[in-house]
Subunit: 271 residues, 2 copies
């Protein structure tokens, strides 16, 4: 299935075969890849995989592409890659001279991007993911979130943010004074926590000395580029589509607005 983004780009790049992205727009890992494709101005077809109602990710044809039965998967001619952080590395490397320089401009920049991308995967993600599940996603999927697990998760997250605060007092973004793959990779979970989990104060100026720097990294660039407010509304659409068994729909209706880039707007929604 094509998304609106594809139609916008069709004239400019109709001779270049589009990459195919198999995923779900409400999935944080799919969002990570979509954001990377947008930063690198790569035209794509989003092939929606229903991971809720029809459980397409556990069917043989999907397992042949991704043996763990997880989204997303990228197909670029004869190269097929899974694991979102492997996919964004592939995209950022292949399109190095195009769009945002997500690896920076020097070998040192690249080393720092890889370092903070790993910190996201090993420190930030394990801390934030349980909070987002128990505060945001579990209720969406008709399950009961556990506030105690969410609270423990947020305590761990605070410790990671303490370190970020120190780093961001010295540079604008995590890997230096440039927006990189590392910052981008933090966005999907952070977005859900601050917009849908009601925890905006965690990264706002109110709670943190370097709140403004954290805000720069997590929201200013993001709110400017991606319509996360719209994204939030679309999470509401997912809720509205819950079937009688409490399972989410395949998300087809919300594909269009997620992949639409909107004009810049100020970083006020997060303060």
């Amino acid at each position: 299935m094509s998304c609106e983004h594809d139609h916008d780009m069709a004239t400019a790049s109709s001779v270049v075969p589009k990459v195919k992205l198999f995923g779900a727009p409400y999935s944080t890992c799919t969002s990570r890849v979509i954001m990377c494709l947008m930063e690198k101005q790569v035209d794509y077809d989003l092939q929606v995989v229903d991971i809720a109602k029809t459980q397409d990710h556990k069917k043989p044809e999907f397992l042949a592409m991704q043996p763990f039965g997880m989204i997303p998967v990228l197909q670029d001619k004869d190269i097929q890659v899974f694991e979102s952080r492997a996919i964004v590395r592939y995209i950022a490397r292949k399109h190095e001279g195009h769009g945002t320089p997500l690896y920076g401009t020097s070998e040192k920049d690249r080393a720092m991007v890889e370092q903070w991308l790993e910190v996201e995967a090993q420190n930030y993600n394990p801390a934030i993911a349980p909070a987002v599940w128990h505060l945001v996603h579990a209720p969406l999927f008709g399950q009961q979130g556990d506030p105690a697990i969410a609270a423990t998760s947020l305590q761990k997250l605070e410790k990671v943010l303490d370190v970020y605060e120190g780093v961001l007092s010295k540079s604008k973004y995590l890997a230096g004074d440039f927006f990189s793959l590392a910052d981008l990779s933090h966005i999907p979970f952070t977005h859900y926590l601050i917009n849908d989990g009601g925890k905006a104060q965690l990264i706002s100026a109110g709670d943190r000395k370097q709140g403004c720097s954290v805000c720069n990294m997590m929201s200013l660039k993001v709110v400017k580029t991606y319509d996360l407010q719209k994204f939030r509304v679309n999470v509401g659409d997912v809720v509205a589509q819950l079937d009688p068994e409490g399972r989410a729909s395949d998300g087809r209706l919300i594909v269009d607005s997620i992949s639409r880039v909107i004009p810049k707007r100020p970083c006020s929604g997060f303060q």
Copy 2:
């Protein structure tokens, strides 16, 4: 502090400044980096950080290098990187034309290496790490391991190995028919589980149809290159050095043999 490996290489590369690796030889993450340095034939100084007795990784001078207080850290002239998987990527990229081609030889190879390196970080490591802690490391550090947590961990690991079995029925190693950064990254935890945790059957031909392939990946190459049997004995040295409070020593005595490359030998110890 220098290690034996450094002395071996001193004549050939005395004009090239050595990289410094801050870590502990019994740490799985430090081992990952040491193995990569050896595969790429990069001369290094191991600066032992005592993470047990004197807790050097929590002291201000170390936190200035690694704000999370974790080992290892690599220092290569003006570039300083932490997070073991970021360090090995940096080494493999910088020394691309030297030693083992750990990213393979094509863009497709590289995409597959990144994919399986992420699978190691996101699927394999979370499954195996609790088992290794509760079966091997907790007792070494004077703590009581929990057999129930180890059992749950091993059940998760079995599911990951089920997928590996399918992959390794089609290619010799995870990313294709070449030993890569992805295979290398699996070694430290796997080594502890099969040699010190008594779980060799998990990846041996006895339990698994593709046991021989798994064995190829996990042990043949490894046993050929790194003296893991020696490494195992050295874990015993750590135990012997436990002080009255049950804390491990700084590991200085076991540095030399870990960084020594021994001649080839057959893959019989794992069957």
